[in-house]
Protein backbone atom coordinates (compact mmCIF):
# COMPACT_ATOMS: atom_id res chain seq x y z
CA UNK A 1 0.00 0.00 0.00
CA UNK A 2 1.97 2.94 -1.20
CA UNK A 3 -0.20 5.45 0.63
CA UNK A 4 -0.07 3.90 4.06
CA UNK A 5 3.51 4.43 5.21
CA UNK A 6 3.40 8.07 4.36
CA UNK A 7 0.36 8.56 6.51
CA UNK A 8 1.23 6.64 9.61
CA UNK A 9 4.34 8.48 10.66
CA UNK A 10 3.93 9.81 14.19
CA UNK A 11 3.70 13.53 14.60
CA UNK A 12 3.27 14.30 10.95
CA UNK A 13 -0.04 15.68 9.93
CA UNK A 14 -1.57 12.84 7.93
CA UNK A 15 -3.12 14.83 5.09
CA UNK A 16 -4.79 11.74 3.69
CA UNK A 17 -7.08 13.65 1.42
CA UNK A 18 -5.55 15.29 -1.59
CA UNK A 19 -8.00 17.80 -2.94
CA UNK A 20 -9.72 16.74 -6.11
CA UNK A 21 -7.77 17.83 -9.12
CA UNK A 22 -9.56 20.69 -10.80
CA UNK A 23 -12.66 22.40 -9.55
CA UNK A 24 -15.54 20.07 -8.87
CA UNK A 25 -18.96 21.49 -8.20
CA UNK A 26 -20.33 18.04 -7.55
CA UNK A 27 -23.85 18.92 -8.58
CA UNK A 28 -26.08 16.09 -9.68
CA UNK A 29 -27.85 16.85 -12.93
CA UNK A 30 -29.90 14.61 -15.21
CA UNK A 31 -27.30 14.66 -18.02
CA UNK A 32 -24.66 13.58 -15.51
CA UNK A 33 -26.83 10.73 -14.23
CA UNK A 34 -27.42 9.74 -17.86
CA UNK A 35 -23.63 9.68 -18.38
CA UNK A 36 -23.32 7.49 -15.29
CA UNK A 37 -25.97 5.06 -16.48
CA UNK A 38 -24.40 5.00 -19.94
CA UNK A 39 -21.10 4.02 -18.37
CA UNK A 40 -22.80 1.38 -16.20
CA UNK A 41 -24.51 -0.19 -19.22
CA UNK A 42 -21.28 -0.67 -21.14
CA UNK A 43 -19.02 -1.59 -18.24
CA UNK A 44 -20.72 -4.96 -17.73
CA UNK A 45 -19.93 -7.67 -20.23
CA UNK A 46 -23.44 -9.10 -20.10
CA UNK A 47 -25.22 -6.06 -21.51
CA UNK A 48 -23.58 -5.80 -24.94
CA UNK A 49 -23.56 -9.59 -25.10
CA UNK A 50 -27.31 -9.94 -24.60
CA UNK A 51 -28.00 -7.17 -27.08
CA UNK A 52 -25.72 -8.82 -29.61
CA UNK A 53 -27.34 -12.23 -29.11
CA UNK A 54 -30.79 -10.70 -29.54
CA UNK A 55 -29.67 -9.04 -32.78
CA UNK A 56 -28.14 -12.25 -34.09
CA UNK A 57 -31.27 -14.19 -33.18
CA UNK A 58 -33.40 -11.74 -35.13
CA UNK A 59 -31.19 -11.99 -38.21
CA UNK A 60 -30.87 -15.79 -37.95
CA UNK A 61 -34.63 -16.17 -37.76
CA UNK A 62 -34.95 -13.85 -40.76
CA UNK A 63 -32.57 -16.04 -42.73
CA UNK A 64 -34.24 -19.31 -41.71
CA UNK A 65 -37.76 -18.07 -42.34
CA UNK A 66 -36.67 -16.52 -45.64
CA UNK A 67 -35.08 -19.77 -46.71
CA UNK A 68 -38.02 -21.92 -45.66
CA UNK A 69 -40.67 -19.79 -47.34
CA UNK A 70 -39.13 -19.59 -50.78
CA UNK A 71 -42.00 -21.75 -52.06
CA UNK A 72 -45.17 -20.22 -50.68
CA UNK A 73 -47.47 -23.19 -51.28
CA UNK A 74 -49.14 -24.50 -48.10
CA UNK A 75 -47.52 -21.98 -45.78
CA UNK A 76 -49.15 -20.13 -42.91
CA UNK A 77 -50.16 -16.65 -43.96
CA UNK A 78 -48.13 -15.18 -41.11
CA UNK A 79 -44.94 -16.61 -42.62
CA UNK A 80 -45.57 -15.15 -46.05
CA UNK A 81 -46.47 -11.56 -45.17
CA UNK A 82 -43.90 -8.79 -44.88
CA UNK A 83 -43.53 -9.29 -41.12
CA UNK A 84 -42.94 -13.04 -41.59
CA UNK A 85 -39.13 -12.89 -41.37
CA UNK A 86 -39.38 -10.79 -38.21
CA UNK A 87 -40.72 -13.63 -36.09
CA UNK A 88 -37.39 -13.79 -34.32
CA UNK A 89 -39.03 -11.13 -32.16
CA UNK A 90 -40.47 -13.98 -30.14
CA UNK A 91 -37.05 -14.97 -28.87
CA UNK A 92 -35.83 -11.39 -29.04
CA UNK A 93 -38.47 -10.17 -26.61
CA UNK A 94 -37.39 -12.72 -24.01
CA UNK A 95 -33.78 -11.58 -24.28
CA UNK A 96 -34.49 -7.87 -24.40
CA UNK A 97 -37.19 -8.12 -21.72
CA UNK A 98 -34.82 -10.00 -19.43
CA UNK A 99 -32.12 -7.43 -20.08
CA UNK A 100 -34.56 -4.68 -19.14
CA UNK A 101 -35.29 -6.48 -15.87
CA UNK A 102 -31.63 -7.18 -15.10
CA UNK A 103 -30.41 -3.64 -15.72
CA UNK A 104 -32.52 -2.68 -12.69
CA UNK A 105 -32.82 -5.83 -10.55
CA UNK A 106 -29.10 -6.56 -10.91
CA UNK A 107 -28.41 -3.34 -9.04
CA UNK A 108 -30.73 -4.34 -6.25
CA UNK A 109 -29.22 -7.80 -5.88
CA UNK A 110 -25.64 -6.53 -5.95
CA UNK A 111 -26.32 -3.56 -3.68
CA UNK A 112 -25.10 -1.13 -6.35
CA UNK A 113 -28.44 0.64 -6.13
CA UNK A 114 -27.61 1.78 -2.58
CA UNK A 115 -24.30 3.26 -3.73
CA UNK A 116 -26.14 4.89 -6.61
CA UNK A 117 -28.84 6.38 -4.41
CA UNK A 118 -26.24 7.64 -1.96
CA UNK A 119 -24.84 9.59 -4.91
CA UNK A 120 -28.29 10.55 -6.23
CA UNK A 121 -30.52 10.70 -3.15
CA UNK A 122 -33.46 12.05 -5.15
CA UNK A 123 -33.57 8.69 -6.95
CA UNK A 124 -35.97 9.67 -9.74
CA UNK A 125 -33.14 10.88 -12.02
CA UNK A 126 -31.69 7.36 -11.84
CA UNK A 127 -34.94 5.84 -13.07
CA UNK A 128 -35.24 8.40 -15.86
CA UNK A 129 -31.59 8.05 -16.90
CA UNK A 130 -31.76 4.26 -17.00
CA UNK A 131 -34.92 4.47 -19.08
CA UNK A 132 -33.38 6.91 -21.56
CA UNK A 133 -30.10 5.04 -21.97
CA UNK A 134 -31.80 1.69 -22.35
CA UNK A 135 -34.41 3.03 -24.77
CA UNK A 136 -31.85 4.66 -27.06
CA UNK A 137 -29.38 1.77 -27.12
CA UNK A 138 -31.96 -0.99 -27.50
CA UNK A 139 -34.04 0.94 -30.01
CA UNK A 140 -31.06 1.49 -32.29
CA UNK A 141 -29.94 -2.12 -31.94
CA UNK A 142 -33.37 -3.67 -32.40
CA UNK A 143 -34.47 -1.49 -35.31
CA UNK A 144 -31.15 -2.30 -36.98
CA UNK A 145 -31.67 -6.01 -36.27
CA UNK A 146 -35.21 -5.93 -37.67
CA UNK A 147 -34.06 -4.15 -40.82
CA UNK A 148 -31.22 -6.63 -41.23
CA UNK A 149 -33.53 -9.61 -40.68
CA UNK A 150 -35.92 -8.21 -43.26
CA UNK A 151 -33.23 -7.73 -45.92
CA UNK A 152 -31.58 -11.08 -45.25
CA UNK A 153 -34.94 -12.78 -45.78
CA UNK A 154 -35.58 -10.86 -49.00
CA UNK A 155 -32.16 -11.97 -50.25
CA UNK A 156 -33.18 -15.60 -49.72
CA UNK A 157 -36.56 -15.03 -51.34
CA UNK A 158 -35.42 -13.16 -54.40
CA UNK A 159 -35.88 -15.32 -57.49
CA UNK A 160 -38.41 -17.58 -55.75
CA UNK A 161 -41.36 -15.40 -54.95
CA UNK A 162 -42.07 -11.69 -55.06
CA UNK A 163 -40.05 -9.86 -52.44
CA UNK A 164 -41.05 -6.90 -50.30
CA UNK A 165 -39.42 -3.53 -50.30
CA UNK A 166 -39.35 -1.06 -47.42
CA UNK A 167 -41.25 1.35 -49.64
CA UNK A 168 -44.20 -1.04 -50.03
CA UNK A 169 -47.28 -0.06 -48.04
CA UNK A 170 -46.94 -0.76 -44.30
CA UNK A 171 -43.63 -2.59 -44.67
CA UNK A 172 -41.51 0.13 -43.10
CA UNK A 173 -44.06 0.30 -40.29
CA UNK A 174 -43.80 -3.38 -39.39
CA UNK A 175 -40.01 -3.49 -39.71
CA UNK A 176 -39.34 -0.40 -37.60
CA UNK A 177 -42.36 -1.35 -35.49
CA UNK A 178 -40.76 -4.64 -34.55
CA UNK A 179 -37.69 -2.80 -33.27
CA UNK A 180 -39.95 -0.41 -31.36
CA UNK A 181 -41.99 -3.31 -29.97
CA UNK A 182 -38.86 -5.02 -28.63
CA UNK A 183 -37.67 -1.77 -27.08
CA UNK A 184 -41.01 -1.27 -25.35
CA UNK A 185 -40.96 -4.85 -24.02
CA UNK A 186 -37.47 -4.17 -22.67
CA UNK A 187 -38.70 -0.98 -21.02
CA UNK A 188 -41.65 -2.85 -19.56
CA UNK A 189 -39.12 -5.29 -18.11
CA UNK A 190 -37.24 -2.33 -16.65
CA UNK A 191 -40.37 -0.94 -15.01
CA UNK A 192 -41.21 -4.36 -13.58
CA UNK A 193 -37.61 -4.56 -12.34
CA UNK A 194 -38.11 -1.30 -10.42
CA UNK A 195 -41.42 -2.51 -9.01
CA UNK A 196 -40.46 -6.07 -8.04
CA UNK A 197 -36.71 -5.49 -7.45
CA UNK A 198 -35.80 -9.18 -7.21
CA UNK A 199 -34.58 -10.73 -10.45
CA UNK A 200 -36.56 -13.99 -10.37
CA UNK A 201 -39.75 -12.27 -9.27
CA UNK A 202 -39.48 -9.62 -11.95
CA UNK A 203 -38.72 -12.17 -14.68
CA UNK A 204 -41.73 -14.26 -13.69
CA UNK A 205 -43.94 -11.19 -13.76
CA UNK A 206 -42.65 -10.01 -17.13
CA UNK A 207 -43.01 -13.43 -18.73
CA UNK A 208 -46.43 -13.72 -17.16
CA UNK A 209 -47.50 -10.52 -18.88
CA UNK A 210 -46.02 -11.22 -22.29
CA UNK A 211 -46.31 -15.00 -22.54
CA UNK A 212 -48.90 -16.36 -20.12
CA UNK A 213 -51.58 -13.69 -20.11
CA UNK A 214 -52.30 -13.87 -23.88
CA UNK A 215 -52.52 -17.68 -23.74
CA UNK A 216 -54.71 -17.51 -20.67
CA UNK A 217 -57.14 -15.27 -22.50
CA UNK A 218 -57.27 -17.76 -25.39
CA UNK A 219 -58.77 -20.26 -22.96
CA UNK A 220 -61.84 -18.09 -22.70
CA UNK A 221 -64.03 -18.36 -25.74
CA UNK A 222 -66.04 -15.19 -25.29
CA UNK A 223 -65.50 -12.38 -27.74
CA UNK A 224 -64.51 -10.17 -24.81
CA UNK A 225 -61.41 -12.32 -24.27
CA UNK A 226 -60.21 -11.77 -27.84
CA UNK A 227 -60.99 -8.12 -27.46
CA UNK A 228 -59.12 -7.87 -24.18
CA UNK A 229 -56.18 -9.73 -25.68
CA UNK A 230 -55.82 -7.03 -28.33
CA UNK A 231 -55.37 -4.47 -25.55
CA UNK A 232 -52.58 -6.33 -23.78
CA UNK A 233 -49.04 -5.05 -24.39
CA UNK A 234 -48.39 -7.98 -26.72
CA UNK A 235 -51.70 -7.62 -28.59
CA UNK A 236 -51.32 -3.88 -28.91
CA UNK A 237 -47.73 -4.40 -30.06
CA UNK A 238 -48.78 -6.87 -32.73
CA UNK A 239 -51.10 -4.21 -34.15
CA UNK A 240 -48.17 -2.11 -35.33
CA UNK A 241 -45.40 -4.71 -35.68
CA UNK A 242 -47.10 -7.38 -37.79
CA UNK A 243 -48.78 -7.31 -41.18
CA UNK A 244 -51.57 -9.75 -40.34
CA UNK A 245 -54.68 -8.40 -38.76
CA UNK A 246 -57.56 -10.04 -36.93
CA UNK A 247 -61.00 -8.49 -36.53
CA UNK A 248 -60.04 -7.54 -32.98
CA UNK A 249 -56.73 -5.93 -33.89
CA UNK A 250 -56.31 -2.33 -32.90
CA UNK A 251 -55.36 0.16 -35.61
CA UNK A 252 -51.54 0.35 -35.83
CA UNK A 253 -51.18 3.77 -34.24
CA UNK A 254 -53.77 2.94 -31.62
CA UNK A 255 -51.81 -0.20 -30.84
CA UNK A 256 -48.63 1.82 -30.43
CA UNK A 257 -50.40 4.30 -28.17
CA UNK A 258 -51.84 1.49 -26.04
CA UNK A 259 -48.50 -0.24 -25.66
CA UNK A 260 -46.76 3.01 -24.80
CA UNK A 261 -49.53 3.67 -22.27
CA UNK A 262 -48.79 0.31 -20.60
CA UNK A 263 -45.13 1.20 -20.32
CA UNK A 264 -45.86 4.71 -19.07
CA UNK A 265 -48.31 3.35 -16.48
CA UNK A 266 -45.77 0.78 -15.30
CA UNK A 267 -43.13 3.49 -14.91
CA UNK A 268 -45.63 5.66 -13.08
CA UNK A 269 -46.13 2.90 -10.51
CA UNK A 270 -42.38 2.32 -10.40
CA UNK A 271 -41.69 6.01 -9.76
CA UNK A 272 -44.24 6.25 -6.96
CA UNK A 273 -42.85 3.11 -5.28
CA UNK A 274 -39.29 4.34 -5.76
CA UNK A 275 -40.17 7.52 -3.95
CA UNK A 276 -42.05 5.78 -1.14
CA UNK A 277 -40.01 2.71 -0.35
CA UNK A 278 -36.77 2.34 1.55
CA UNK A 279 -33.95 1.48 -0.80
Amino acid sequence: MSGTTRMSGPGTRPGPMPSPAGRVDGQVTLPRVVASEWSKLWSLRSTPLVILVAMLAMVAFGAIIGHNTRHPGGLDPEDVVASGPLQGYYLGQLLVGSLGVLVVSGEYSSGMIRATFAAVPRRLPVLVAKLLVFAVVVMIAMVAAAVAAFFVAQAFLSGYRPTYSLSDPDVLRVVVGTGVYLTLIGLLGGAIGWIVRSTPGALVMLFGVILVLPVLLLLFHGAWAQHASAWLPTGAGAAFSTSLRTPDSLAPWTGLAVMVAWVVAAYGIAAVLLHRRDA
Binding site: S2, S8, M17, P20, P121
Partner: protein, 318 residues
Amino acid sequence: MIEARSLTKRYGAKLAVDDLTFSVRPGIVTGFLGPNGAGKSTTMRMMVGLDRPTSGSVRVNGRAPHAHAAPLHEVGALLEARAVHPGRSARNHLRALALTSGIGRSRVDQVLQLVGLADVADKRVGSFSLGMGQRLGVAAALLGDPATLILDEPINGLDLDGIRWIRSLLKGLAAEGRTVFLSSHLMAEMAVTADHVIVVGRGRLLRDQPMTEFIDDARVETVRVRASAIGPLARLLEGAGAAVEVDGEVMTVEGLSSDRIGTLAAGAQIVVLELSPQSASLEDAYLALTRESVDFRVDDHDGRVVRDADLSDDEGAA
Protein backbone atom coordinates in the same frame (compact mmCIF):
# COMPACT_ATOMS: atom_id res chain seq x y z
CA MET B 1 -22.21 17.95 11.15
CA ILE B 2 -24.94 15.38 11.62
CA GLU B 3 -28.00 16.12 13.72
CA ALA B 4 -30.52 13.43 14.60
CA ARG B 5 -33.69 14.67 16.25
CA SER B 6 -36.09 12.12 17.77
CA LEU B 7 -35.09 9.85 14.93
CA THR B 8 -37.32 6.78 14.86
CA LYS B 9 -37.65 3.89 12.45
CA ARG B 10 -40.18 1.13 12.76
CA TYR B 11 -40.26 -1.99 10.58
CA GLY B 12 -43.66 -3.51 11.11
CA ALA B 13 -43.81 -4.40 14.79
CA LYS B 14 -40.09 -3.95 15.36
CA LEU B 15 -38.77 -0.63 16.53
CA ALA B 16 -35.30 -0.53 14.96
CA VAL B 17 -34.43 3.02 15.97
CA ASP B 18 -36.17 4.50 18.97
CA ASP B 19 -36.21 8.26 19.42
CA LEU B 20 -32.51 8.96 18.89
CA THR B 21 -31.34 12.52 19.43
CA PHE B 22 -27.67 13.33 19.08
CA SER B 23 -25.20 15.44 17.14
CA VAL B 24 -22.01 14.39 15.43
CA ARG B 25 -19.55 17.26 15.36
CA PRO B 26 -16.94 18.06 12.74
CA GLY B 27 -13.24 17.90 13.49
CA ILE B 28 -13.32 14.70 15.54
CA VAL B 29 -13.89 11.01 14.94
CA THR B 30 -17.18 9.91 16.43
CA GLY B 31 -17.74 6.23 17.07
CA PHE B 32 -21.18 4.66 16.87
CA LEU B 33 -21.22 1.61 19.08
CA GLY B 34 -23.76 -1.03 19.77
CA PRO B 35 -24.34 -4.74 19.50
CA ASN B 36 -25.59 -6.26 16.27
CA GLY B 37 -29.18 -5.32 15.67
CA ALA B 38 -28.98 -2.19 17.81
CA GLY B 39 -30.10 0.00 14.91
CA LYS B 40 -26.73 1.42 13.86
CA SER B 41 -27.04 0.54 10.18
CA THR B 42 -30.63 1.72 9.99
CA THR B 43 -29.65 5.03 11.58
CA MET B 44 -26.83 5.47 9.08
CA ARG B 45 -29.10 4.55 6.16
CA MET B 46 -31.49 7.29 7.25
CA MET B 47 -28.57 9.77 7.31
CA VAL B 48 -27.90 9.01 3.66
CA GLY B 49 -31.57 9.03 2.70
CA LEU B 50 -31.86 5.34 1.85
CA ASP B 51 -34.42 4.77 4.59
CA ARG B 52 -37.12 7.21 5.50
CA PRO B 53 -37.58 7.89 9.22
CA THR B 54 -40.92 6.79 10.65
CA SER B 55 -40.76 9.99 12.67
CA GLY B 56 -38.18 12.53 13.65
CA SER B 57 -35.52 13.81 11.33
CA VAL B 58 -31.86 13.75 10.51
CA ARG B 59 -29.90 16.57 8.94
CA VAL B 60 -26.44 16.34 7.49
CA ASN B 61 -24.54 19.60 7.13
CA GLY B 62 -27.78 21.37 7.91
CA ARG B 63 -29.94 19.76 5.26
CA ALA B 64 -32.13 16.71 4.84
CA PRO B 65 -30.37 13.94 2.89
CA HIS B 66 -32.49 14.54 -0.21
CA ALA B 67 -31.92 18.28 -0.22
CA HIS B 68 -28.25 18.33 -1.19
CA ALA B 69 -27.45 19.75 -4.61
CA ALA B 70 -24.06 18.02 -4.55
CA PRO B 71 -24.66 14.90 -2.43
CA LEU B 72 -21.26 13.24 -2.87
CA HIS B 73 -19.56 16.47 -1.89
CA GLU B 74 -21.63 16.65 1.29
CA VAL B 75 -21.75 13.03 2.42
CA GLY B 76 -19.48 10.13 1.62
CA ALA B 77 -20.91 6.84 2.80
CA LEU B 78 -19.79 3.25 3.16
CA LEU B 79 -22.92 1.36 4.10
CA GLU B 80 -22.34 -2.20 3.05
CA ALA B 81 -19.13 -3.85 2.02
CA ARG B 82 -20.42 -4.99 -1.32
CA ALA B 83 -22.64 -2.29 -2.76
CA VAL B 84 -20.90 -3.08 -6.01
CA HIS B 85 -21.80 -5.09 -9.07
CA PRO B 86 -19.29 -7.98 -9.10
CA GLY B 87 -18.95 -7.84 -12.87
CA ARG B 88 -17.64 -4.30 -12.95
CA SER B 89 -14.02 -3.27 -12.40
CA ALA B 90 -13.15 -1.12 -9.40
CA ARG B 91 -12.35 1.78 -11.71
CA ASN B 92 -15.61 1.49 -13.65
CA HIS B 93 -17.58 1.22 -10.41
CA LEU B 94 -16.08 4.46 -9.11
CA ARG B 95 -16.34 6.05 -12.54
CA ALA B 96 -20.10 5.39 -12.68
CA LEU B 97 -20.58 6.98 -9.27
CA ALA B 98 -18.27 9.89 -10.11
CA LEU B 99 -20.13 10.68 -13.32
CA THR B 100 -23.36 11.40 -11.42
CA SER B 101 -21.66 14.40 -9.88
CA GLY B 102 -19.36 15.50 -12.66
CA ILE B 103 -16.28 14.15 -10.87
CA GLY B 104 -13.46 13.51 -13.32
CA ARG B 105 -11.22 10.55 -14.08
CA SER B 106 -8.27 12.05 -12.25
CA ARG B 107 -10.18 12.05 -8.97
CA VAL B 108 -11.12 8.39 -9.51
CA ASP B 109 -7.43 7.57 -9.96
CA GLN B 110 -6.61 9.65 -6.91
CA VAL B 111 -8.94 7.76 -4.56
CA LEU B 112 -7.88 4.41 -6.02
CA GLN B 113 -4.30 5.37 -5.18
CA LEU B 114 -5.32 6.61 -1.75
CA VAL B 115 -6.96 3.33 -0.71
CA GLY B 116 -4.23 1.23 -2.28
CA LEU B 117 -6.28 -0.32 -5.08
CA ALA B 118 -4.50 1.33 -8.02
CA ASP B 119 -2.86 -1.94 -9.05
CA VAL B 120 -6.12 -3.86 -9.21
CA ALA B 121 -8.26 -1.00 -10.51
CA ASP B 122 -9.18 -2.85 -13.70
CA LYS B 123 -9.92 -6.21 -12.08
CA ARG B 124 -13.50 -7.27 -11.67
CA VAL B 125 -14.76 -6.52 -8.18
CA GLY B 126 -16.17 -10.04 -7.92
CA SER B 127 -12.62 -11.31 -7.46
CA PHE B 128 -11.88 -8.95 -4.55
CA SER B 129 -11.32 -10.08 -0.97
CA LEU B 130 -13.51 -8.63 1.78
CA GLY B 131 -10.73 -6.22 2.73
CA MET B 132 -10.32 -5.01 -0.84
CA GLY B 133 -14.08 -4.57 -1.04
CA GLN B 134 -13.93 -2.41 2.08
CA ARG B 135 -11.16 -0.32 0.56
CA LEU B 136 -13.24 0.17 -2.56
CA GLY B 137 -16.15 1.24 -0.38
CA VAL B 138 -13.90 3.78 1.34
CA ALA B 139 -12.73 5.01 -2.07
CA ALA B 140 -16.35 5.52 -3.13
CA ALA B 141 -17.05 7.41 0.09
CA LEU B 142 -14.09 9.74 -0.55
CA LEU B 143 -14.88 10.39 -4.23
CA GLY B 144 -16.69 13.67 -3.75
CA ASP B 145 -14.23 15.11 -1.20
CA PRO B 146 -17.10 15.09 1.30
CA ALA B 147 -17.51 17.26 4.36
CA THR B 148 -19.10 14.37 6.23
CA LEU B 149 -18.18 10.69 6.20
CA ILE B 150 -20.54 7.97 7.34
CA LEU B 151 -18.94 4.53 7.51
CA ASP B 152 -20.76 1.42 8.66
CA GLU B 153 -18.33 -1.11 10.13
CA PRO B 154 -15.41 -0.03 7.94
CA ILE B 155 -13.00 -2.22 9.89
CA ASN B 156 -14.80 -5.47 9.04
CA GLY B 157 -12.63 -7.68 6.91
CA LEU B 158 -9.51 -5.54 7.16
CA ASP B 159 -6.24 -7.04 8.27
CA LEU B 160 -4.12 -5.38 10.93
CA ASP B 161 -2.37 -3.25 8.35
CA GLY B 162 -5.70 -2.18 6.94
CA ILE B 163 -7.07 -1.35 10.38
CA ARG B 164 -4.06 0.87 11.12
CA TRP B 165 -4.42 2.47 7.74
CA ILE B 166 -8.08 3.30 8.15
CA ARG B 167 -7.52 4.57 11.68
CA SER B 168 -4.93 7.10 10.55
CA LEU B 169 -7.00 7.95 7.49
CA LEU B 170 -10.08 8.75 9.58
CA LYS B 171 -8.11 10.73 12.14
CA GLY B 172 -6.52 12.71 9.34
CA LEU B 173 -9.89 13.40 7.74
CA ALA B 174 -11.27 14.62 11.05
CA ALA B 175 -8.19 16.80 11.57
CA GLU B 176 -9.02 18.48 8.29
CA GLY B 177 -12.30 19.59 9.87
CA ARG B 178 -14.53 16.93 8.41
CA THR B 179 -17.26 15.12 10.30
CA VAL B 180 -16.30 11.47 10.65
CA PHE B 181 -18.89 9.02 11.94
CA LEU B 182 -18.16 5.32 11.98
CA SER B 183 -19.94 2.38 13.50
CA SER B 184 -18.51 -0.72 15.07
CA HIS B 185 -19.49 -3.41 17.49
CA LEU B 186 -15.88 -3.65 18.73
CA MET B 187 -15.25 -1.54 21.81
CA ALA B 188 -11.49 -1.97 21.79
CA GLU B 189 -11.17 -0.67 18.24
CA MET B 190 -13.38 2.31 18.97
CA ALA B 191 -11.39 3.19 22.07
CA VAL B 192 -8.29 3.87 20.00
CA THR B 193 -10.01 5.39 16.97
CA ALA B 194 -12.82 7.60 18.23
CA ASP B 195 -12.67 10.86 20.16
CA HIS B 196 -16.33 10.76 21.00
CA VAL B 197 -18.68 7.84 21.36
CA ILE B 198 -22.37 7.30 20.87
CA VAL B 199 -23.64 3.98 22.21
CA VAL B 200 -26.99 2.52 21.22
CA GLY B 201 -28.79 -0.62 22.23
CA ARG B 202 -32.09 -1.80 20.82
CA GLY B 203 -32.44 1.43 18.95
CA ARG B 204 -32.11 3.58 22.06
CA LEU B 205 -29.40 6.02 22.97
CA LEU B 206 -27.34 4.69 25.88
CA ARG B 207 -24.35 7.05 25.90
CA ASP B 208 -23.24 10.19 24.10
CA GLN B 209 -19.97 11.39 25.59
CA PRO B 210 -16.27 11.98 24.94
CA MET B 211 -14.33 8.73 24.70
CA THR B 212 -12.07 9.71 27.61
CA GLU B 213 -15.12 10.19 29.81
CA PHE B 214 -16.56 6.88 28.68
CA ILE B 215 -13.30 5.15 29.55
CA ASP B 216 -13.15 6.85 32.95
CA ASP B 217 -16.71 5.81 33.70
CA ALA B 218 -15.84 2.31 32.66
CA ARG B 219 -13.01 2.05 35.12
CA VAL B 220 -15.31 0.65 37.77
CA GLU B 221 -13.66 -0.73 40.88
CA THR B 222 -15.51 -3.60 42.44
CA VAL B 223 -14.58 -5.84 45.30
CA ARG B 224 -15.14 -9.56 45.41
CA VAL B 225 -16.11 -10.67 48.88
CA ARG B 226 -16.66 -14.04 50.55
CA ALA B 227 -17.79 -14.00 54.16
CA SER B 228 -19.21 -16.21 56.90
CA ALA B 229 -22.59 -14.45 56.91
CA ILE B 230 -23.10 -13.28 53.39
CA GLY B 231 -26.70 -12.09 53.77
CA PRO B 232 -26.22 -9.81 56.78
CA LEU B 233 -22.98 -8.42 55.33
CA ALA B 234 -24.73 -7.61 52.03
CA ARG B 235 -27.43 -5.69 53.87
CA LEU B 236 -24.82 -3.93 55.94
CA LEU B 237 -22.82 -2.85 52.88
CA GLU B 238 -25.94 -1.74 51.05
CA GLY B 239 -26.79 0.33 54.09
CA ALA B 240 -23.40 1.95 53.70
CA GLY B 241 -24.22 2.95 50.14
CA ALA B 242 -22.71 0.10 48.11
CA ALA B 243 -24.26 -1.76 45.22
CA VAL B 244 -24.08 -5.44 46.06
CA GLU B 245 -24.62 -8.42 43.83
CA VAL B 246 -24.80 -11.76 45.63
CA ASP B 247 -24.07 -14.89 43.70
CA GLY B 248 -24.18 -17.91 46.00
CA GLU B 249 -21.24 -17.72 48.36
CA VAL B 250 -19.68 -14.74 46.68
CA MET B 251 -20.72 -11.16 46.35
CA THR B 252 -19.51 -8.33 44.19
CA VAL B 253 -19.49 -4.93 45.84
CA GLU B 254 -19.36 -1.68 43.99
CA GLY B 255 -18.98 1.73 45.59
CA LEU B 256 -16.94 0.81 48.65
CA SER B 257 -13.21 0.23 49.00
CA SER B 258 -11.88 -3.08 50.30
CA ASP B 259 -10.58 -1.26 53.41
CA ARG B 260 -14.02 0.03 54.21
CA ILE B 261 -15.66 -3.34 53.60
CA GLY B 262 -13.18 -5.07 55.92
CA THR B 263 -13.74 -2.48 58.62
CA LEU B 264 -17.52 -2.74 58.38
CA ALA B 265 -17.39 -6.54 58.50
CA ALA B 266 -15.14 -6.48 61.54
CA GLY B 267 -17.49 -4.04 63.28
CA ALA B 268 -20.35 -6.49 62.74
CA GLN B 269 -18.20 -9.44 63.76
CA ILE B 270 -18.52 -11.10 60.39
CA VAL B 271 -15.57 -13.22 59.30
CA VAL B 272 -14.29 -12.18 55.90
CA LEU B 273 -12.92 -15.12 53.92
CA GLU B 274 -11.92 -13.28 50.79
CA LEU B 275 -11.59 -9.62 49.91
CA SER B 276 -10.18 -8.89 46.46
CA PRO B 277 -10.46 -5.64 44.50
CA GLN B 278 -11.39 -6.14 40.84
CA SER B 279 -10.91 -3.75 38.00
CA ALA B 280 -13.35 -4.03 35.12
CA SER B 281 -12.08 -3.64 31.59
CA LEU B 282 -13.49 -1.28 29.04
CA GLU B 283 -14.89 -4.27 27.22
CA ASP B 284 -16.68 -5.39 30.42
CA ALA B 285 -18.16 -1.95 30.89
CA TYR B 286 -19.40 -1.85 27.33
CA LEU B 287 -20.89 -5.34 27.58
CA ALA B 288 -22.59 -4.46 30.84
CA LEU B 289 -23.99 -1.32 29.27
CA THR B 290 -25.42 -3.07 26.25
CA ARG B 291 -26.26 -6.45 27.77
CA GLU B 292 -29.80 -5.40 28.55
CA SER B 293 -30.35 -4.41 25.00
CA VAL B 294 -28.81 -7.25 23.06
CA ASP B 295 -31.37 -8.16 20.48
CA PHE B 296 -30.45 -11.77 20.04
CA ARG B 297 -28.81 -13.82 22.72
CA VAL B 298 -28.14 -17.50 23.09
CA ASP B 299 -30.54 -19.08 25.50
CA ASP B 300 -28.48 -20.90 28.11
CA HIS B 301 -30.86 -23.78 28.58
CA ASP B 302 -31.04 -25.29 25.16
CA GLY B 303 -28.66 -23.19 23.11
CA ARG B 304 -31.39 -21.80 20.92
CA VAL B 305 -31.04 -18.26 19.78
CA VAL B 306 -34.00 -16.39 21.10
CA ARG B 307 -35.17 -12.94 20.39
CA ASP B 308 -35.48 -10.88 23.54
CA ALA B 309 -38.35 -8.96 22.12
CA ASP B 310 -40.33 -12.16 21.87
CA LEU B 311 -39.86 -12.86 25.55
CA SER B 312 -40.71 -9.58 27.15
CA ASP B 313 -44.10 -8.09 26.58
CA ASP B 314 -43.07 -4.46 26.86
CA GLU B 315 -40.90 -4.68 23.76
CA GLY B 316 -41.64 -5.04 20.13
CA ALA B 317 -45.34 -5.76 20.34
CA ALA B 318 -47.15 -2.98 18.61
